[in-house]
């Protein structure tokens, strides 16, 4: 396994489309790195540049201290799972998995052993004699993963490998991938647009938007302390609520005011706002649905007119509007609420975030 390093990597396509801008990242040995972001933000392009399938327009790619920009894919010693699986249609599952070993002229006995082992890990032993056309989506996907884990490359690259699976299988495969990562001690670079996958799998997550890295951090940091409104809104499900609010001083305390609601800030946040001169200005308030509670101090109550109530079993989701902004709250199932009624809910003021209205950057750097 190996460490990788990308320095100022840019990609401009022939048609002038800029897919990746100034990408700087160090990937440590045995790291499970996730590239996440909305569709079209340049994740696949980044992965393909690392694999050598796409030319790097400018910048440097280092693998284990060697410059790789001009090295052909064959010589980079990486293994990749493609989004479309890319199974060889004329070969059986066994031969598909064995392909990368065959082209390296590895002895038959060892091929046999490694293919069987990979097939056991992925529970596809009974499929080895089938051709790809006779496999379901989930089985194809496991074959694609099998074809890379038979090798011991410097790093595994995976491009949305779980995107075509149903929810149950996806959860199951997530667990399998985590296990594989631990067992192989592998460096994995994993592309997804699914933030749940990103949070559950990654040891480090890179959030991208429009070809630019927004934040690279471990999952907890990304969740608790996003650098800007984009990351805050992208990570978490349902996503964070945003409300434009005024920062004001009332009764000797700092509060935020929005459509007949007034919330007092805690000491630290109040201090922070005054210091950075936001008093009397507008900012974005960010609250995660799970940071709403059923009880709290009277003066901090927020009135929410419930439009839709979703029952999840362990929780309920209340959807409504505050001053024209859609709000979602996740509350206990026994909380008395019906669609059409008005309820009082309370925001956890220690967990709120505030973002600059123009730059959308996090004001409260915890």
């Amino acid at each position: 396994m190996a460490s990788l390093s990308l320095v100022n990597v840019c990609k401009t396509f022939k048609n002038g489309q800029i897919a990746v801008k100034d990408f700087n990242l160090d990937i440590k040995d045995e790291e499970f790195l996730i590239l996440v972001g909305p569709s079209g933000c340049g994740k696949s392009t980044t992965l393909r540049m690392i694999a050598g399938l796409e030319e790097i327009s400018s910048g440097e790619l280092w693998i284990d201290g060697a410059l790789m920009n001009l090295t052909v894919p064959q010589k980079r010693d990486l293994a990749m799972v493609f989004q479309s699986y890319a199974l060889y249609p004329h070969l059986t599952v066994y031969e598909n998995i064995a392909f990368s070993l065959r082209v390296r002229n590895i002895p038959q006995i060892e091929i046999e052993e490694r293919v069987k082992k990979a097939a056991d890990i992925l529970c596809i032993r009974h499929l080895l004699d089938r051709k790809p056309f006779a496999l379901s989506g989930g089985q194809k996907q496991r074959v694609a993963i099998g074809s890379v884990i038979v090798r011991k490359p410097k790093a595994y690259l995976m491009d949305e490998p779980l995107s075509n699976l149903d929810a149950k299988l996806r959860t199951q495969m997530r667990v399998e991938l985590s296990k594989i990562h631990k067992e192989l001690g592998a460096t994995i670079i994993y592309v997804t647009h699914d933030q749940v996958e990103a949070m559950t799998l990654g040891t480090k997550i890179v959030v991208m938007n429009a070809g630019v890295i927004q934040q690279a951090a471990p999952p907890e940091v990304l969740y608790n302390n996003p650098v800007n409104k984009f990351v805050a809104g992208f990570i978490g499900s349902p996503s964070m609520n945003f409300i434009p609010v005024w920062v004001e001083r009332r009764e000797e305390r700092i509060c935020i005011v929005f459509s007949n609601n007034r919330l007092f800030l805690n000491e630290d946040n109040a201090h922070c706002l005054i210091e950075s001169g936001y008093l009397g200005r507008r900012v974005y308030l960010g609250i995660r649905p799970e940071d709403f509670h059923e009880t709290g101090p009277k003066e901090q109550a927020i009135k929410l007119k419930v439009e839709i109530k979703e029952v999840l079993g362990s929780d309920i989701l209340l959807h409504g509007k505050i001053g024209g902004n859609p709000i979602c709250g996740r509350l206990k199932p026994d909380f008395p609420s019906e669609a059409g009624t008005e309820v009082s809910i309370f925001a956890d003021m220690n967990r709120i975030l505030l973002f600059d209205l123009d730059t959308e950057e996090n004001i409260l750097d915890h």
């Binding site: 990749m80 493609f82 890319a86 392909f99 082209v103 056309f133």
Partner: protein
């Protein structure tokens, strides 16, 4: 009521009458007539006069000339099919890239398809001319290509191969563009070099179209006529007397329509058996 039933029963057949009529007139009738003629001795007008049963066939199987025709045809088919398929494959692979001006090359490689075999043969005849031909000029030789029994068959075969390569180029180009490009990308990352990609991906990926192309090529090669007629007239000696040309000669020079018909029937049997064999093999050999 009854009339309505009858018309309902008949109407589907009315629709297929035109197609059937064309088939009967131009396909079934000549075919049956050929078999019929092959059992007779004919007069100069091609009318069946004397029933001889299998006589024409037994004459053929004791004729050295006929066996020579079969032998020459076999060699001819072998050269034409292998060379033209190879040409088509190589040109298709060369043109399966994108760079400016690629269309010019594609057109050039597909062009033989559009050339009539006899006009191509005329041009070849000039190019192969012993004194003024460009081939001898370029090679600095004085070989009499088409009058030398050693070279004549090869010359005709190579000309036919070139003529057939255009359509093969088209088939193989279509086959190549059917192979998913991400497979090559995966193979690159998997560590396969160009030769491995060719033998492990391209060839198997082409195998369905390869089979089809092979069948069409074999049938086409068996039926080569125009180039023989123009270039060598079956000569020198009988060295290029392909079976189709031999049929033509028997019928229209020697007025032995019975014998010509018998040869036609044999040619038909040979092609049919070959095709059936290949379809049988396809079930085992072709992937997917």
């Amino acid at each position: 009521m009854k009339l309505k039933n009858v018309s309902r029963y008949l109407s589907p057949y009315v629709y297929i009458v035109p197609a059937i009529a064309v088939f009967v007139l131009f396909l079934f009738f000549p075919f049956i007539k050929t078999i019929y003629l092959s059992l007779f001795k004919t007069n100069k007008m091609g009318q069946a006069k004397l029933f001889v049963g299998g006589g024409n066939y037994s004459d053929l199987f004791s004729s050295a000339s006929f066996f020579n025709s079969l032998f020459v045809t076999a060699i001819f088919v072998l050269i034409v099919v292998s060379v033209s398929m190879l040409l088509g494959l190589i040109t298709a692979i060369l043109c399966n890239q994108s760079f400016p001006g690629i269309r010019i090359f594609s057109t050039a490689y597909a062009l033989p398809m559009a050339i009539a075999s006899s006009s191509a043969a005329m041009i070849f005849k000039i190019m192969l001319h012993p004194t003024i031909g460009i081939i001898n000029k370029l090679l600095g030789l004085h070989t009499n290509w088409i009058s030398d029994p050693r070279y004549a068959l090869v010359c005709v075969a190579l000309l036919s191969a070139w003529l057939n390569s255009g359509i093969n180029f088209l088939y193989f180009s279509a086959g190549l563009s059917n192979i998913d490009n991400t497979l090559y990308e995966r193979a690159s990352v998997d560590g396969a070099n160009s030769a491995q990609k060719f033998f492990r991906l391209t060839l198997p990926g082409l195998s369905p179209i390869m089979f089809y192309t092979l069948v069409v090529n074999i049938i086409q090669a068996f039926q080569a006529f125009g180039q023989v007629k123009v270039l060598t007239m079956g000569g020198p000696g009988e060295s290029t007397n392909l079976i189709v040309y031999s049929i033509y000669r028997d019928a229209f020079f020697n007025y032995r329509f019975g014998s010509a018909a018998a040869q036609s029937v044999i040619l038909f049997m040979v092609i049919m058996i070959l095709t059936l064999c290949m379809f049988h093999l396809e079930k085992k050999g072709v992937h997917y």
